[in-house]
């Protein structure tokens, strides 16, 4: 029979996984509501980074803030225009706790429906789009709380509702922004139909490889 200490460790593991899942799901809600500062506050204080699609890597807490608040949000306090819509489901999360359980990795699907301008981030006609991609994120426990250490959303397709991914795999991705530039180039941007698969962070549950 398991000892009290062993049981305690097993519960801690379950609790850690649950908290990380909550963190990622809440990230999705804040993103969809354009709550950019709240998103930034989900990130670790020490050495976080974010990379989405072809926008490049934003490093450090200040880089994360520049990405969400300045680039995606259009600046502090800017209210999304009428019709702007983001519904990005955070799906199929697989959390892998590292040895020592102070860091973890998670793979998720991001799948959603949007109404956003595609010619630029904030100007131009709104387009209805389907979006799909994979997250490979790292989490860290800082001051007893799980936070996002690195977030990487690798875009598979972002297609107009009227067209579909076979016809138009990607709209609205114009590379790293020149006014609010990233700290590093995109590391793995290779959307459909390239066949690229972002490497998985988890081990095979049967073979262990």
């Amino acid at each position: 029979m398991a000892t009290l200490e062993e049981l305690q460790a097993r519960i801690q593991r379950l609790d850690d996984i649950k908290q990380i899942e909550q963190l990622q799901k809440i990230y999705g809600y804040y993103m969809d509501y354009g709550e950019w500062q709240k998103v930034v506050d989900l990130f670790a204080d020490n050495g976080p980074s974010v990379e989405e699609a072809d926008r490049g890597v934003y490093k450090g807490k200040e880089g994360v803030r520049r990405y969400y608040v300045d680039l995606l949000g259009g600046g502090p306090g800017k209210v999304p225009r009428p019709g702007w819509l983001s519904i990005m489901f955070q799906l199929q999360g697989v959390i892998s706790l590292d040895v020592g359980a102070a860091t973890a990795r998670g793979r998720w699907y991001g799948m959603g429906m949007e109404a956003k301008p595609t010619a630029s981030l904030h100007e131009g006609e709104l387009r209805q789009t389907w979006i799909n991609g994979v997250y490979e994120n790292e989490y860290v426990k800082e001051d007893g709380k799980w936070k996002i250490k690195t977030l990487h959303f690798n875009l598979t397709f972002r297609t107009p509702f009227e067209d579909g991914w076979l016809k138009v795999p990607v709209v609205g991705q114009t590379g790293p922004d020149s006014k609010i530039p990233p700290d590093g180039p995109p590391t793995a941007y290779s959307p459909y139909p390239s066949g690229f698969h972002l490497p998985v962070s988890f081990k095979h549950p049967i073979t262990g490889k």
Binding site: L7, Q8, Q22, I26, Y33, P80, L85
Partner: protein
């Protein structure tokens, strides 16, 4: 950690698991119109149920009226009555049902599938502001890092607000 604290922690984790299952099962039952099973998921002390623009229904009886009568199409006064009413008229509601489902099944323990008009609610809708209003449904959780409970930022302004 004592055994008592350990048990409390296990119970908490199991509770969350069961609540997540409950919500997922609600989805499956609702999607297959198993309205009796939906009703049985609700507490005998249900406070209220509210879907879309149909308004608020109070108590367990409100749940019954919402799902059994409204969604399931069971008559307030019994199945025979609603069948008779439908036979008397060419009924737009009946046409909707046949278009949606293809087949209409009526049985003692199987409510009519499809939508009928909803029974009168106990209260008007409290937060029906669909796209593109920009309305954001309030969060039920605090920020996981800052711990603050905040109303979502929204550009939606209630028409009655000054």
């Amino acid at each position: 950690m004592t055994l008592e604290l350990l048990e409390a922690e296990v119970t908490r984790l199991e509770d969350i698991r069961e609540i997540e299952d409950l919500e997922r099962k609600y989805g499956y039952y609702f999607d297959t119109r198993r309205v009796r099973d939906v009703l049985d998921l609700f507490s005998e002390n249900t406070e209220s149920v509210e879907i879309e623009s149909h308004g608020q229904y109070f108590g367990k009886d409100g749940v019954r009226r919402m799902y059994m009568v409204g969604v399931g199409g069971e008559a307030e006064t019994g199945l025979k009555d609603v069948v008779a009413r439908r036979e008397k008229s060419s009924g737009a509601a009946f046409d909707v049902i046949t278009q949606l489902q293809g087949v209409v099944t009526i049985g003692a323990d199987q409510p009519i599938v499809g939508f009928l008009s909803m029974p009168n609610p106990d209260n008007p809708p409290t937060a029906f502001h669909p796209y593109p209003s920009g309305y954001h449904f309030p969060y039920s959780f605090p920020h996981p890092v800052s711990g603050e409970v905040e109303v979502p930022v929204s550009r939606y302004v209630h028409p009655m607000a000054t």
